[in-house]
């Protein structure tokens, strides 16, 4: 049982504040993803949870007890690193067995040379071997136990790193961009395996990534971080439909959400949609919330600049007039075949229109406030 609670965590390196007062509750058994652009402080936050970095202020609670002054190994957390951080001079077996050995063998038994001969070590080693083999079977690396990490492929190293983390059955798994060194195909496969591992182990996972697709597909909840602050913590679908901040809206979803400023909207001769709030400066809408119609007065008009056919979907890049950016429109292949250069009108579903003020904060009209509540 280990829920994690972060209270007002702050951390700076010299003059630069990296984490600016983050508070976050992570439930027991939850898969929470910290997502954000590189340098936003998400990895630092993860290392603070692990105890590898000390926060300047604030508290870290794991399983209800404050672990501020506990060392990493006393926190009952395991971590998987981006570079896997396997020990290159040890075999796969020794890599995976190391955390068990450091915990179960006494100080004397771990001494170089003499430790091997001490009584009791044999029995413990036998138990460790059994557990390592069990973990290896689970991860399908049992046939690699005698190899050195240098002889393994990226995906195999990733599994060994997972094995080393799970073999001692920690209450919390921390993962720092574990898939970013893998090729695209393997990444999708490992994604599924990590989800399955989470389900099987049932412990708390905290997962750091800059890839919004990973965040969306894997997590129970996603925490979006930017410039050292948490912008929003929500379920993935909520994050997509109902972002609190323009930066969240732009980070989540591929292709990116369309953003047109009210000023552009008016100067392009389109009338603002009904229900636009007085403070609203930006209107944002997802590619699938736009339809293509004939161009006409009062509408947002543009010219098809390019067509991307993905088979299941066709994305149209529509250039707005006067070089005021492009809008991406997602259409079904059966619906329309648009050629580049064709003038079109854009019809936006008003229910899917998101409004943001000058600072990027979400503005809601009455129905949306009700819906959110």
């Amino acid at each position: 049982m280990a829920e994690i609670e972060l209270r007002h965590i702050k951390k700076s390196y010299g003059e630069t504040a990296v984490v600016k007062g983050v508070s976050l509750n992570i439930r027991d058994g939850e898969f929470l993803t910290l997502v954000g652009p590189s340098g936003c402080g998400k990895s630092t936050l993860l290392r603070i949870i692990a105890g590898l970095e000390a926060q300047d202020s604030g508290e870290v609670m794991v399983g209800g007890r404050c672990v501020n002054d506990k060392r990493p190994k006393e926190r009952d957390v395991a971590m998987v690193f981006q570079s896997y951080a396997l020990y290159p001079h040890l075999s796969v077996f020794d890599n995976v067995a190391l955390p068990l050995r450091t915990r179960r063998l006494s100080f004397a038994q771990r001494l170089p040379f003499v430790g091997r001969a001490l009584p009791g070590r044999g029995g413990i080693e036998k138990a460790i071997r059994a557990e390592v083999e069990q973990a290896a079977c689970m991860l399908d690396i049992a046939h690699l136990l005698d190899r050195k990490p240098g002889q393994l492929s990226g995906g195999q190293r990733q599994r060994v790193a997972l094995g080393r983390a799970m073999v001692r059955q920690p209450a919390v798994f921390l993962m720092d961009e574990p898939l970013s060194n893998l090729d695209a195909k393997l990444r999708v496969q490992m994604r599924a395996e990590i989800i399955a591992l989470h389900r099987r182990l049932g412990v708390t996972f905290v997962y750091v990534t800059h890839d919004q697709a990973e965040a969306m597909t894997m997590s129970d909840r996603v925490a979006v971080m930017m410039a050292g602050e948490l912008l929003q913590v929500s379920r993935p679908e909520r994050l997509y439909r109902d972002p609190q901040d323009l930066r969240v809206a732009e980070m989540i979803g591929s292709p990116k959400i369309n953003v047109v400023s009210c000023a552009d909207w008016i100067s392009l001769g389109a009338t603002l949609p009904p229900g636009v709030h007085g403070n609203t400066r930006h209107l944002a809408f997802r590619p699938e919330a736009v339809g293509i119609t004939a161009s006409g007065d009062g509408r947002l008009n543009g010219v098809v600049a390019s067509v991307e056919n993905l088979g299941s979907d066709i994305f149209l890049n529509v250039a707005l007039g006067d070089g005021r950016g492009t809008v991406v429109v997602r259409t079904h292949p059966d619906v329309s075949r648009s050629e580049p250069g064709r003038p079109v009108g854009l019809q936006i579903d008003p229910a899917c229109l998101l409004q943001f003020d000058g600072a990027g904060l979400r503005q809601r009209h009455a129905e949306q406030i009700e819906a959110a509540a």
Binding site: K73, Q82, A85, Y87, R110, G150
Partner: protein
Amino acid sequence: MIARFSDRRFVGRVARHAILILTAAFALLPFFWMVSLSLKPPEEIFQADFHFWPTAFHGVENYRVALTAAPMFRFLLNGVLVCAAIFALQLLVCIPCAYALAKLRFHGRDTLFSAVLVGLLLPPQALAIPHFVLLNVFGLLDTYAALILPWAISTFGIFLLRQFFRSIPDEMIHAARLDGLGEFEIIWRIMIPMTAPALAAFGIFSVVAHWNDLFWPLIAVRREEISTPALGILLFRDDEAGQFFGPLMAGAVIIVAPLLVAFLIAQRRFIDGLAVTTTR
């Protein structure tokens, strides 16, 4: 076409090797000369015409004198003892220092490292007098300790190992801490095995320097029974040096031989080790 191309490559290769052989010969000439002299009788050593192979083979006599006139084995043993002790102490000091300077964060670390760099600039000769006085105060002159202790801390070693330790990613150390290793265990189980080639390289520098050192033993030691090889060989150089040139050179060969043999044996492993670290 193809033939001409490979011809040109062949010529280039010959030229390259010719240059290499020439420079190697230049570097090895004094050594061959030493071996050659150690095999010659005294009268031939000072002859005007020169040939590498002696006309009258006098090697046996020279080496017999070299081995019997002075306790050569004792000198060699002293050399091994002193070099091993120096290297062991250096590792004991350098490895933790280098680890702290490379991987731990604490106040004053950069200042300390600057101090190490300053130490690197000081020539050991400049410290000879202070060391001598210090050893005198502790009554350690003319003992093994006098030969060993001044070299126990190697700023060069700290510097070299720090650079190697820095090249090990922080994530490796983070992983080790999470796996439950203490700092000394990280050094022993992670840092030392991963930088073994660097330690070997440092070992070569250290052993060669102190095996061949004449300057410091000359100052610190008088007694014959604790003389190092380089100092011991001076026994052959008395006023009648001319007579003793053959045995002197034979002694020099005997002193250099262990290092050569050791490195010929270690060379393969050494190069393998370097290759492992680069392809990792």
